[in-house]
Amino acid sequence: MSPDTTHSPAQVIPQLRDTILSPAFWLALLAVLIAACAVVNVGRLLALAALAAITLSAWLLTRTPLRRLNRLLPIISFALFCFLLLLIIPIDAETETIQLPLWGREVPHHGTWFILALLIKSTLIVLLTTAFAERLSQRDLLAGLTALHLPAKLVSLCYLMLRGLDSIAAELRRMMRARDARGAVGGMRAVKVAAAMAQVLIIRLARRAETQAFALCARGYAGRIPLSHYRSITLFEGIALIISLVALAWLTLL
């Protein structure tokens, strides 16, 4: 391994990605959109339609693959679980009810609206986050959160948790490969093996986390993960964010 003399220091520095808007702007915009989705009244169809149109545009602009829709599975499962609860909870005489179309069954009015609102809002939030995640790299996330001047410890935690997912995925892949190499079988045996694997995975990850913490401290970690260079929000971006905030507030609250 002879020292590299073909790259000058200037060439070595990765250029900031040639984009018009900074990662901090996209993260702030995402936060505004999530807040709008969280507070919107699902009875206001115009507001819902506008948020859905923004979400669809985000998916199209970021060219998010349709397979990412699988991220909705936990939400759909949770909504189904809540709906089943509504069906089995007894309704007393004073409870306001509505009749389900086609089925004709009576369910509590407020509970049904609550589940519907939860399903719509969380679906929009997950779809928006997925679309934005398609565009933002791990570095963008770290640079954006840093540029937004969020508390350094919070930024560290967010980033290390995200980075930790890579470690978990890699460790799990290794374990599954080792399991398959020794002739994994299906049925109840597979369930037992999966439970044992989960236990071992937790222990391994705890050990790994300790070593990673050592590695961080060895290079001077003091509660923050600093970057040598990142883009701050420009005046134009700040104005655009304020306009977005006002527009979404008007759309969702008024």
């Binding site: 391994m1 002879s2 020292p3 590299d4 003399t5 073909t6 790259h7 000058s8 220091p9 200037a10 060439q11 070595v12 520095i13 990765p14 250029q15 790299s137 791990q138 570095r139 770290l142 290390l160 980075r163 890579d166 470690s167 890699a170 790994r208 070593t211 990673q212 050592f214 590695a215 961080l216 401290c217 060895a218 290079r219 001077g220 970690y221 003091a222 993960i225 600093p226 970057l227 040598s228 260079h229």
Partner: protein
């Protein structure tokens, strides 16, 4: 009295893990300036635990002096800027989103200005011949490349002392040769823990043999490696 010719001076160091395992038992170690010392011993001998003490990551009973300064909470930040620790598994060490940021991390923490950081990162990457990977994600590199990045990430602050845990583990023959050449070209004081006796022979004129948390022999590396009876009794 402080010996100014020693980069590392460990006296009576003992350490017990929370589960009761005695990992280090009264270790004495003296590493002169710019020396290259190998720590050898079987698994569980205490090599890695001793290395963690040299960077102040673990605190046992006894004294650790680095470049004449006793390791205390007050001297810890300064000492960590002088002692670069390279872990056995680079995946434990690399966590930043790009190779550039990974190498820059320690330099930014040390408070260098942006221009100095850029220059030092460029130099460190050039030293390990990884300049063209600056904007790559470390996770996508081979084990040999990750090792080089891990070494660059400690070279960036121009550490006077480099402590390497099993540097050749997992490397192919070409990568191993390249690593030996790289380490051989460095002027820093080296402490290398390894089971790779050939690497130890080529890189480190002096060796310290550990067994069950104690130093059982300190001598010239060729003498130790020639004593096959001793190596066998030491579990090597």
């Amino acid at each position: 009295m402080v010996d100014s010719t020693l980069d590392i001076e460990v006296t009576g160091l003992s350490f017990r893990y929370p589960d009761g395992t005695l990992a280090l038992d009264g270790i004495d170690l003296a590493v002169p300036r710019t020396a290259r010392v190998a720590l050898i011993g079987p698994n569980g001998a205490g090599k890695s635990t001793l290395m963690l003490h040299l960077n102040g990551l673990l605190h046992g009973q006894g004294t650790v002096r680095i470049l004449g300064q006793e390791l205390t909470d007050a001297t810890l930040p300064a000492i960590r800027r002088q002692v670069g620790l390279v872990f056995q598994n680079p995946d434990d060490q690399l966590f930043m989103p790009t190779v550039f940021d990974e190498v820059a991390y320690a330099a930014v923490n040390a408070g260098y200005d942006e221009e100095t950081v850029r220059t030092r990162v460029a130099e460190a990457l050039a030293t390990v011949a990884m300049s063209q990977y600056a904007d790559k994600h470390p996770i996508n590199l081979s084990i040999g490349q990750k090792k080089r990045i891990a070494i660059a990430s400690v070279l960036v602050t121009e550490n006077r002392i480099l402590v390497l845990d099993e540097p050749s583990a997992g490397l192919d023959p070409a990568g191993r040769r390249a690593l030996i050449a790289l380490l051989d070209s460095l002027s820093a004081t080296l402490v290398v823990a390894s089971h790779d006796l050939d690497l130890v022979d080529r890189l480190c004129p002096d060796a310290v043999v550990l067994k069950a948390g104690s130093v059982i022999r300190t001598a010239d590396t060729p003498d130790i490696l020639a004593d096959t009876e001793f190596l066998s009794s030491a579990g090597l």
